[in-house]
């Protein structure tokens, strides 16, 4: 469904964050991107929904050229791609309800929504999304009153409002404890399995990778150094991706 060809991103400062990266994602995959901090995982995910403009290369989703899209067409593509963030990126002072409704903005009349008028059925949809994530009792709380795990669930509910074909998750559990990490990833897995939503997710922990990924891509300094099944990641591969120094810590974690 998604095809990335020769993707390169050079930041204005001259940092080459992605170098000639190509891969494909099939419908229904749970693709995990791994790599050291600074290897370009966030850059890659943000190029896919054009929060960052790639320097070179082409990304297509179901035949539509994402890299060439502009204006309304780009917004149309974006609303089909949900995004989940490490720091949740909720609007802290707004209510949970408003945050979830924000996920629907791409579908709504811009003028009415700007005035804060949302159709009743959208509110119902938001309520259902929250119910599905088990936090329907928090509808009226302010987003910053919630715990980290609850905030990330609001983030997922916001994404659900987009009825996405693809979900990009940038280290969705990196600021959560291990128990919560599983619970959040299980929601993503559920969306992936039951709703047939393709997921591209960056993760750091090997146990999580092997538990949830259907396929793994490894990045190192913006270059793809691994592509394969999670079970193929062994000591040697791990060393390649994470570098010699990281070997000890990571390798023990692997065993």
């Amino acid at each position: 469904m998604l095809k990335v060809e020769h993707l390169t991103k050079v930041y204005p400062g001259g940092t080459v964050a992605l170098k000639d990266l190509s891969f494909e994602v099939e419908d229904g995959e749970f693709l995990v991107v791994i790599g050291l901090s600074g290897s370009g995982k966030s850059t890659l995910l943000r190029c896919i929904n054009r929060l960052i403009d790639p320097t070179e290369g082409k990304i297509t989703m179901d035949g539509a050229d994402i890299t060439a899209a502009k204006g309304a067409e780009l917004r149309h593509i974006r609303r089909q791609i949900g995004m989940i963030f490490q720091h949740f990126n909720l609007v802290k002072r707004s209510s949970v309800m408003t945050n979830v409704l924000n996920g629907r903005l791409g579908y709504l009349n811009p003028w009415l929504s700007t005035m804060g008028i949302f159709p009743a059925e959208e509110k119902k949809r938001a309520q259902q999304a929250l119910a599905r994530l088990g936090i329907e009792d928090k509808v009226h709380s302010r987003a910053d009153e919630l715990s980290g795990g609850q905030q990330q669930r609001v983030g997922i509910a916001r994404t659900l409002m987009q009825e996405p074909k693809l979900i990009l998750a940038d280290e969705p559990v990196a600021s959560l404890d291990p128990v919560l990490a599983h619970s959040i990833l299980q929601y993503l897995e559920q969306l992936n399995k039951d709703d047939k939503v393709t997921v591209i997710c960056s993760l750091h922990y090997l146990d999580l990778i092997q538990r949830y990924a259907t396929r793994v891509i490894g990045l190192k300094d913006g270059v793809k150094v691994f592509e394969g099944l999670p079970s193929e990641i062994n000591r040697v591969k791990f060393k390649e991706i994470y570098g010699e120094e990281a070997q000890d810590i990571r390798a023990t974690a692997l065993e």
Binding site: L51, N89, L90, L105, G106, T114, R158
Partner: protein
């Protein structure tokens, strides 16, 4: 100095100890005599040398400036640079290792105090000698004239001819609750007349006043009413009652007026109180309006002066610097100065004060708003862009919720400041309570001044409290 230091330090750096010993003391003394601090630098005490040099040079400069300022031929303060110079030689000769420059700094401070005191006409004793002068003033200020007891009045009069003429007419007197009669139909200079009145409130004082035909009242006295509300008194006619008459021998009709004021319970605003209220409401209105208008103008400036929004392109960066500079310059001009300028342009009253405050508010809030905008979290913005929202929706749902509480808090804080500023601005003719206060100070009506002080204090305390409360809830 730097050159000398270099020449000497370079060889020293290899073998510090031996060279220090051989460094000739007489050369250091000579160098310090020539230029204070140089000898110390030569002894590798660069910092001490620098301090001594600076203390010497600046104290010398101050003495010369003081001479120029006062026009005196010579200044006794010359002793300070001289002492620094002496100490400097002493220091080189006897303390080649000490690193303190405390004494020259201390000497320098004495000089600064002495010259400063002269220039500012500093006179500490005056603060204590003339305390007495302020006592009446302070007593009046502490007894503000804001309200007065509500009173009722009873008054009546009777006419009397003076001096007596050949053809006497029956004198008129007032009709009503109060009757006043004078037993004598006429009186000459020095005569004693007997005045009787009835219908007053019992056992309270009654003012008796002699009104001459033209001009002010000539004599007055007071008398107590008896238990029945009657009064009776004998009163001598004094020459002053003829003082305004062209010819004191021509008979004229005068009037004796009896007045009694009686507190009727309750209080009313005194006329000063009325002005204070008017001034305070003017000041509050002025502050409110200039805050609102200034805040509205400040919003676009805030966005244009936000680094994170503007510095993406060269044109944006240029705009950013221009707007920043304008805001900074405008902000640095006191609202008071602007008010003076606008009073000259548009005349006295609240309007020039309002313009000045509005401009100052715009600049100050523009800067603060831009800082809020610079501090917003980019996370929600990218999250909402990622949902396919358009620009307007991103602003509405990601930017505005982040900035509105801070904007509101800052605006309220500014209103609080503006209430104070508009009081001061009144002093230069910018309307409001300050304007009245200024006039009362000139008229030396210190009770009115006191009333204004108390009113201002109350308003400022209330504003402070309210704004703190609201801000606490917002942030």
């Amino acid at each position: 100095m730097a050159k000398k230091h270099k020449i000497f330090v370079q060889p020293l750096s290899n073998n510090h100890m031996t060279k220090t010993k051989t460094a000739p003391k007489w050369l250091a003394i000579l160098l310090s005599a020539f230029l204070p601090g140089l000898g110390q630098a030569f002894q590798r005490r660069i910092r001490t040398g620098l301090y001594i040099f600076l203390a010497f040079a600046t104290s010398l400069a101050v003495v010369f400036w003081d001479r120029g300022y006062t026009g005196a031929e010579s200044s006794s303060w010359m002793i300070i640079p001289a002492l620094i110079w002496l100490w400097n030689i002493f220091n080189v000769a006897f303390f080649p290792k000490a690193s303190s420059a405390l004494i020259p700094v201390f000497l320098w401070l004495i000089l600064a105090y002495g010259v400063g005191a002269k220039v500012t006409e500093f006179n500490l004793p005056a603060l204590f000698q003339n305390v007495g002068r302020s006592q009446t003033m302070i007593r009046e200020i502490l007894h503000p004239d804001f309200v007065q007891p509500l009173t009722e009045k009873r008054t009546g009069f009777s006419e009397i001819e003076s001096p007596c003429s050949s053809a006497l007419k029956a004198p008129n007197h007032s009709t009503g609750d109060v009757t006043v009669t004078i037993l004598q139909p006429c009186a000459n200079n020095g005569d004693i007349i007997t005045i009787e009145g009835s219908g007053f409130w019992p056992n309270e004082s009654v003012t008796v006043a002699w009104h001459i035909p033209i001009g002010p009242q000539a004599m007055s006295t007071t008398v107590m009413s008896d238990a029945q509300g009657n009064v009776k008194l004998d009163w001598q006619v004094l020459p002053i009652v003829y003082s305004n008459a062209p010819d004191p021998s021509i008979p004229q009709i005068h009037r004796v007026v009896l007045t009694q004021e009686h507190p009727s319970g309750g209080i009313e605003l005194s006329s000063v109180g009325g002005y204070v209220l008017q001034g305070i409401s003017e000041t509050l209105g002025l502050a409110f309006l200039s805050t609102i208008v200034g805040a509205l103008f400040a919003i676009p400036f805030g966005f244009l002066a936000a680094r994170n929004l503007m510095t993406g392109s060269p044109i944006g960066t240029l705009f950013y610097f221009i707007i920043r500079t304008i805001l900074n310059i405008t902000r640095s001009i006191e609202a008071l100065i602007m008010a003076i300028i606008f009073v000259i342009i548009v005349g006295l009253g609240p309007f020039p004060g309002m313009i000045a405050l509005t401009i100052h508010t715009t600049a100050a809030l523009g800067k603060l708003y831009s800082e809020v905008i610079e501090g917003i979290d980019a996370g929600p913005i990218e999250a909402i862009r990622a949902t396919g929202a358009n620009w307007l929706q991103v602003v509405r749902f990601a930017v505005i919720p982040q900035i509105v509480p801070s904007f509101t808090a800052l605006t309220i804080y500014r209103w609080d400041i503006n209430v104070r500023s508009s009081t001061i601005i009144g002093f230069v003719g910018g309307g409001g309570i300050g304007f009245f206060l200024w006039q009362w100070i000139i008229l030396q009506d210190f009770r009115a001044v006191g009333s204004s002080f108390f009113a201002i204090a109350v308003v400022v305390i209330i504003m402070d409290f309210l704004s703190a409360q609201i801000r606490e809830r917002l942030v």
